[in-house]
Symmetry: D2
Subunit: 349 residues, 4 copies
């Protein structure tokens, strides 16, 4: 098979062919003919790869969270700025159809001055006490529990839709503190290594739930809750924003719907939350997909994101969201953790 | 105890006292001092009482259905007209808050030309095959099954909101055709007679479900379904009306809510079904009850109805709905039954 | 008209007739022939009436909140205990059908160990900046804003369903700080005094919103929010309780429905939140009302409450909820206010 | 670029390369190296291509509807049987996650004996009277209107979940009978031909809505409605099935949810429609996609379908659904059309 780019661009050298692969990331970030590095490793590996990629002049994409500490996040942002490479972070929920519409309504002033955002991100996969001590439940590997995993998403959503955080106060809890340890077994026939639940129990040292109150810099209030212990809530990211002119409600389990209340309708006696199915051709992103009313799934948010990022790069702009957003999210995450330790309101940088 | 009216009106004769009662209806309809007769007997008793009450110059209220046959219904309407008495029929669902709002939106032209009404009235109390052969399942007593009982309500709703019926075609079915007969037992100690399920089974000769399609005189189409065999549907009267400018949806199990879709909203990209909680002070009837958002129950529809009827009478008008509406509903009921026999479309008078 | 009780009880003295009235409360609480005093005055009048009624041996009912301060509430509880009279407080939401079912499920262990309650009580009647400075927006009259008015309800609900509060941390906010002052006008023709909005603006010194996090004594976590600034939320008291075996959700705007998730259903692959319409004959209170599926309104919760209270008294028991519950609710209200001042977690007594 | 199969299979002849294309379908169906023909042409072209493909021994996939007449459909089924080629039809809605679960529940007997299916497929794109006379509104091109387009889907769903149709009776209507004709224009600069709305109006000779009642061979009843005139209903395929043991409800606009009511729950007082999010790993198809609660879109139903079809072929079985299902669907479509003409109940073959 010939080199891919050859077909479209002509005579470039060092192009990568479709059946080439490499398991040493250091060679990848140095490889000529590669323009863009997409980092999807566990968070603790992000920093080194990103900095090396930037040094080599590559465009850098990174999964969220940007890093496992604010300090690392700052270094990564510094690197992409120093080497003047474009960068992006995969807060893909920004690219859902209903969120695109929410952003549009807010930007057009339809919600007015924002008074409040209440957001939850609830899941239930930890409620079974026999669920074992996987890596996500160990601080040294995962960094944090529900907070870093789930709150990170709704913090980014809040920054996107409401604005920057000012200060916060928090509580967290680990409901089940000991779980069965996993031990490695070799499967002799296949040579594979897999993990098996043992009788021994180990400590869960991350949060099962983290809840915090916040004040935004624009004086709105917020409440945020991440939890992996809410039976029946499979992937329940739900938020409501109340403003001086209206309200909006979003629920990730009904991903194409946006509920919208406009105080304008009150004069006519017909006010009520509207269930907008955000798949009309003039809704954000929707025109690129199916006819109205055909549901766009979670996976398609990545496609929308890639399209946005590549369009930005094609125009010479830096994509959004990017490492800056990763840093700002991390600032909130860490301030909240400080508040847990100190039991009082803590300023976000 | 003194006579009630005495307190407010002064010197009237023949007034009825609060602790007076009478078990012979013939004496009641002749009793002086009574202005109004409210008939809540089983349907087969309605005609004679209503006609005698009218003859005696009483205002006549009647529960739905007006009669067990169209012929009887005509005679009743004739009587109240001949003796020039005011009359009303208790289609109380017209007086629910959400229905008041639906009527208002339609009258204001918000729905435009009506294209369709699809209505169901689903219950589930007959789905258990051990449920006995109560009187409602015997034609000679009940007249009809789900059709006369449940379709009557949505037929009246259709006449109120959409207009007169033109023709119809139908199917019906009795899913469980034999049920345990009830036999009377005397309870020796108390002297009470009660009924007990026996081993013997008898024939169910009314419909468990009746479904019909219709064309309205104004060219709208309709579909109507009454069923007592829909597990989980306790009192599920739900209808949707589609018109050239919008749609409305009502569900009796969420009795204060009206869903409303306006095509006007499409220009702004924010169209969607609005869930209007019809309890704002300016919604029909709502100002007489609690503050906005406090739910008004099924029972209160009777209160709204009585208020409307008494206000009409106070102004010297005949109340709405009245015997005429009872007759028109019966015309549809009987046309539908004719269509069952003939297996073809049948004109409604 | 004869005295009412005469009809049923025979020869009692000092009975009260139906057309007797009295505007001096002191005479009422001393009046022989009265067994029970129901206090529905503004909160600042409750204490004196309740204590005098108790002194005179009357049964005492009181609207919520019991008092405008915890100190007053203690004195009231002391009085009814000292004079050994029965007492009740009108937290009527406990008596809604869906709440009756929620309590039953929790008591039966269907929800398991409770991990979390998240509750909001949202309304929107203050979002209009031209809404005037009514008494509810002035601390000296109302005591507090959304907190005392709305949080009181969900605090009581939490005590009923989850248990006693342990500690809390809070934020509150007044979004619109100045509003038009009302001035009294005499209407010359009628002699009535009414209030009119003036150009002058005065200070709103109560909270428009109060949000707090809490830990319960049984280790569950809670979040509570009262707000009068949530467009579209008319009377939106909504809570979700997550436990080790399941979850429940209630919304006062759909007052007869309880959503229930049982982890039991997971084994069969059919788990999901069930929408239970709590009006079946065997649901709490429902058997006293209409057939299944006929909606019971907000108003009927008072009827259920009175029935419960009178049944308790008939059996010689003290009713529930009572002054003790009023005191416990007030303890939480005041602890939360203390936390506002101190900006840190505060223990509830 | 080398030929694709070459990479994996080695030395096969006549393979098709990725940059080969052909605009003459006759050459395609004869081309060696092609195993499978997927027909996505307008319905009137299906027959000839399918028969020629079968003659050439190709596997044949066909979009729905199989043909524009029952006669053509029979010929196509005959051809694939005669030439012993495998065949499939793209009723892709069978492959949605929630439908997979519905089928499973019915097959396991959870719904019991089926009493009723009520299905609607409502859209609103024709309600605007200025929408032009596109080909879908002309019988000679489209064959039929809402009926063939939308009812076809719910007829197939009914055959999949309930069983074969026995007889039907119907009504249909064209609400807006004349629309602006489109005329072709050449765009000089690009050479493209596009269509423009003219002042002239032409006749709409297909149905805007078709509604029919049916009896199934297993004695269940059904009601089916297709409509392009329901404001607010974008792609509202919704059906409810009631059986002796429970009910299910599906709505294509909430594509991953299945509502399920089990009479089993009634004993415990906790019966209610469960909203099952059919994305758990053990739900049909779900294990191949995202973690629980992540929404799978409409598009993914095609992927599920292809997987099922290829798995069938790999096992040597004929895929389901296939041309037989296309024929059976067409039988219902045409019987319904016969009933329109004759105004009476008509037997389905």
């Amino acid at each position: 098979m010939e080199e891919l780019k050859n077909q479209s661009n002509g005579q470039k050298k060092n192009l990568v062919s479709l059946n080439e692969y490499e398991t040493n990331w250091k060679k990848v970030v140095e490889r000529k003919g590669i323009d863009l590095i997409d980092i999807t490793t566990p968070p603790n590996a992000n920093k080194e790869i990103a900095i090396q990629a930037a040094k080599n002049g590559k465009i850098v994409f990174c999964e969220k969270p940007l890093a496992t500490s604010l300090k690392d996040a700052y270094e990564m942002l510094e690197a992409v700025e120093k080497y003047k490479v474009k960068h992006a972070i995969f807060f893909n929920y920004r690219k859902l159809l209903a969120i695109g519409l929410a952003k549009k309504l807010i930007d057009e002033g339809k919600i007015g001055e924002i008074y409040h955002m209440r957001a939850v991100y609830l899941q239930d996969w930890l409620v079974d006490p026999d669920f074992p001590l996987v890596w996500r439940l160990q601080r040294k590997i995962a960094g944090s529990g529900a907070h870093g995993d789930l709150n990170a998403h709704i913090i980014d959503m809040a920054r996107y839709l409401v604005g920057e955080f000012d200060e916060g106060i928090v509580t967290k809890k680990t409901f089940i503190k000991k779980r069965h340890v996993l031990v490695e077994k070799d499967e002799l026939e296949t040579g594979l290594v897999y993990k098996e639940k043992s009788e021994k129990k180990g400590i869960v040292d991350v949060d099962d739930t983290t809840i915090f109150l916040t004040k935004f810099k624009n004086e709105a209030l917020g409440s945020f809750e991440a939890k992996r212990f809410a039976p029946g809530r499979k992937n329940h990211q739900r938020f409501e924003i109340n403003g001086s002119k209206g309200s909006i409600v979003f629920n990730l389990e009904r991903v194409n719907e946006l509920e919208y209340y406009s105080r304008e309708d009150e004069k006519k006696g017909t006010s009520g939350f509207r269930k907008i199915i955000a798949t009309d051709p003039d809704h954000p992103y929707a025109g690129n997909w199916w006819p109205a009313g055909h549901i766009i799934g979670y996976g398609e948010s990545f496609v929308n994101m890639i399209a946005d990022i590549l369009n930005s790069i094609a125009k010479g702009d830096n994509p959004n969201p990017n490492f800056y957003d990763g840093v700002k999210c991390q600032e909130v995450i860490e301030s909240v953790e400080k508040s847990i330790k100190e039991g009082r309101w803590v300023k976000v940088k």
